[in-house]
């Protein structure tokens, strides 16, 4: 593992995904991953920028890559898949000389394009590893059934993202299992949630995110787990709108995977921003506890019966 990683939180971390930002920092601290803040970082331009022009979009990202170069660090990591995509695509396209020159012509301070870009999730899985995470778990999430939802762009296209499987990613599954949670099958792992159309074309998000909630519920999940601020907002904050639009009654909590990691590492719930989730997760966590107790009760019953049979056999033999 590297000594320290430059850390790019992304704009939503200051607002709508504050709990992702809080919980990411909390688990990195607990796991000994040093995050170095990038002084005066700016917005990557997100989706709106790349729909206007690719050089313009890359320049907004490259300003930040240049700041990381100033820090003298080799790798920048970000929790947000939209930031990740923009930073990675910029870096990928800047390997072309004329694109590189066009981008730098828009910048005050040139970017050498020498920095590697990864997600926080990639560092957790590849640099730290699920075993090291399992070793630190003090409150296993046993009994909790979760549907891991990755969103569309964290792994795609594979030639640029170079992490995990583009159709059936398993990085979060692996971590959630290391935490003791039960991962339910979720075939729509990389299907789009409706992205940023929540404002201008709400009907799209209602339809697409509604499908995701429906599948998670059908497959018996107590909660969904995401790694993306936009997915989380569509599924959690907009769940009431989805219920009204589709005539449903979903009450599905949607965690950031970092929040569940924090719970398993015994970090305080407030420090993980659990109180900022729109759909209260208490019911789901309680259900998981009850399920675990019921399993333990059944197990004890079985054991008692086995013991009883054993004593019976011993008595009849004597």
């Amino acid at each position: 593992m590297a000594d320290a990683y430059a850390y790019y939180p992304g704009c939503s971390g200051l607002g709508t995904s504050r709990e992702y930002e809080q919980s990411t920092r909390a688990i990195c601290r607990a796991l000994g991953i040093e995050l170095r803040d990038i002084p005066d970082w700016s917005c990557c331009g997100s989706t709106p920028a790349h729909t206007v022009d690719h050089v313009f979009s890359a320049a907004l990202s490259a300003r930040n890559l240049a700041l990381v170069e100033d820090l003298g660090l080799e790798t920048v990591i970000t929790p947000c898949p939209s930031c990740l995509t923009n930073l990675k695509v910029a870096s990928h396209r800047m390997h072309d000389e004329s694109f590189f020159n066009d981008v730098n012509a828009l910048l005050d301070k040139p970017c050498g394009n020498s920095v590697a870009v990864k997600s926080v999730l990639q560092v957790l899985v590849e640099d730290l590893g699920p075993e090291a995470i399992r070793d630190k778990v003090s409150k296993p999430l046993a009994g909790l059934k979760v549907a891991p939802y990755y969103g569309c762009i964290m792994n795609r296209p594979p030639e640029i993202m170079r992490f995990d499987d583009p159709e059936n990613p398993t990085a979060m599954d692996t971590i959630l299992q290391a935490l003791g949670a039960e991962v339910v099958p979720f075939p729509l792992k990389v299907e789009c949630c409706g992205a940023s159309y929540g404002v201008a074309r709400k009907d799209i998000v209602m339809h697409l995110s509604g499908k995701l909630l429906d599948l998670a519920q059908d497959n018996g999940a107590d909660a969904m787990v995401t790694a993306c601020p936009l997915c989380q907002m569509n599924l959690d904050l907009r769940q009431g709108q989805i219920n009204s639009a589709l005539g449903r009654d979903f009450r599905m909590p949607v965690f950031y995977y970092t929040q569940l990691m924090g719970l398993a590492l015994s970090i305080d719930a407030d420090e993980l921003g659990l109180n900022r989730l729109n759909v209260n997760p208490k019911r789901a966590l309680h259900r998981a506890e009850q399920r675990l107790k019921e399993r333990e009760r059944q197990q004890a019953e079985k054991e008692a019966k086995r013991q009883a049979r054993k004593s019976e056999r011993e008595a009849s033999a004597a």
Binding site: T16, S17, T51, D108, R276
Partner: protein, 185 residues
């Protein structure tokens, strides 16, 4: 079904420009339909993505650029990931959207209003100011009820800051915009 007179309507300059800007060759597309099958947005598209590819092969600039589909693509990368001929379809659609914007074909006005509000916020503050972006969008679209019911929820949870986070280097960010627009060197 519509018949196209390709000898009269094929726009070679348009096709060449799309190829240059996307660095992709649409001729590789053999219309298997994988892109449209996997596209989560086909249900709201006027032209499914494989038809856009076919129309591009046929050089049909006008029909493509006025398609609402260009503005509704979320760049989810399903088409690119699943194309058996390794065409970066999402990049082509993005380039077509750039051209539609430049030529004034704005067929989903609210989508453009939202994107513009977002980018203006970044230009002004260096980082996007979420509340400011929404307020600007509402003012432009006239849709004053947009997400109004979410307001109390995000405020109570401390998830929407009432003030922007201006960075020190916001002028550097604004200069990226101005240089891109040719307004500054």
């Amino acid at each position: 079904m519509e018949c196209l007179k390709l000898d009269k309507t094929y726009d070679a300059e348009f096709v060449n420009q799309v190829m240059a800007e996307s660095q992709q060759d649409p001729a590789w597309c053999y219309q298997c339909g994988n892109c449209s099958a996997g596209c989560p947005y086909t249900f709201v598209y006027d032209l499914p993505v494989h038809q856009i590819m076919r129309l591009l092969q046929a050089g049909q600039k006008e029909t493509i650029l006025r398609s609402r589909s260009l503005w509704l693509c979320a760049t989810c990368e399903s088409c690119t990931t699943r194309c058996p001929n390794n065409i970066d379809v999402a990049r082509i659609v993005d380039v077509l959207r750039h051209m539609a914007r430049r030529h004034g074909y704005i067929t989903e006005k609210d989508v453009k209003r939202f994107n513009d509000s977002f980018l203006e916020s970044v230009k002004k503050h260096g980082r996007v100011f979420e509340l400011g972006t929404l307020v600007k969008y509402v003012a432009r679209s006239g849709k004053f009820w947009t997400d109004i019911e979410l307001g109390p929820k995000v405020m109570a949870k401390g998830k929407m800051t009432p003030k922007p986070h201006d960075i020190q280097g916001k002028d550097e960010v604004a200069k990226i915009y101005n240089r891109f627009m040719g307004e500054e060197k």
